[in-house]
Amino acid sequence: LRFLFVSTRGVNLAEIGDPVREIEIVPREEPLPQELPLPEPSVPERELEPA
């Protein structure tokens, strides 16, 4: 119903003007090592303290 009386064709391109260039920005498949979250410690710190 939104578009029953209003054609949207071409309206938006008029707002942003003519095309200038095309670019592509793609995320990596895997994060770099420094971007990985720190692993959880396998042994609680309290258990490493001397008795």
Binding site: R2, E15, E22, E24, I25
Partner: protein, 154 residues
């Protein structure tokens, strides 16, 4: 985003406006023109609209599809009322809108005053004082910065 994305190039950050709609799950961002809900914590992927493609392969013209955003904030601020005025020449604009920045990535066509992108997610939202009650729920829903600007227009 629920799944982090890692980029070698910074995504394009541009300005856009969203319709702000109250739903049973809280305030929701929707596209001004097509009223598509913007998903929370997941990218929005462009989809071609019937009648907007004219048989071309995206993103080549005369394609008009893609997630649109502006280079200048002023253009994003002006867009909802301009669009509403076209839809409702007699006035009585039924929706309220918010302005903010949006990250764009994937295939992007840069235009003179804006962009058309394949993928997008809100980067930050700017609310007027009258919209301040939406700040916390929008921040929680979309996990983005939401600022209430003292002099911003609703």
């Amino acid at each position: 985003l629920s799944t982090p994305l890692f980029f070698d190039q910074t995504p394009v950050v541009a300005w856009r406006a969203w319709a702000l709609v109250e739903t049973g799950e809280g305030p929701e961002l929707r596209s001004v023109v097509y009223a598509h809900p913007w998903p929370a914590r997941a990218p929005l992927r462009m989809a071609c609209e019937p009648g907007g493609c004219l048989g071309a392969r995206w993103p080549m013209q005369p394609h008009a599809c893609g997630i649109h955003a502006f280079k200048d904030r002023a253009d994003a601020v002006a867009f909802p009322s301009m669009w509403e005025a076209r839809r409702f020449p007699q006035g009585a604009f039924p929706e309220q809108s918010v302005v903010g920045q949006v990250s764009l990535w994937g295939r992007i066509v840069e235009h003179e005053r804006g962009y058309r992108a394949e993928l997008a997610y809100p980067y930050a939202l700017l609310l007027s004082p009258e919209q301040g009650r939406f700040a916390a729920p929008l921040a929680a829903r979309y996990n983005v910065d939401v600022l209430v600007e003292p002099h911003a227009r609703p």
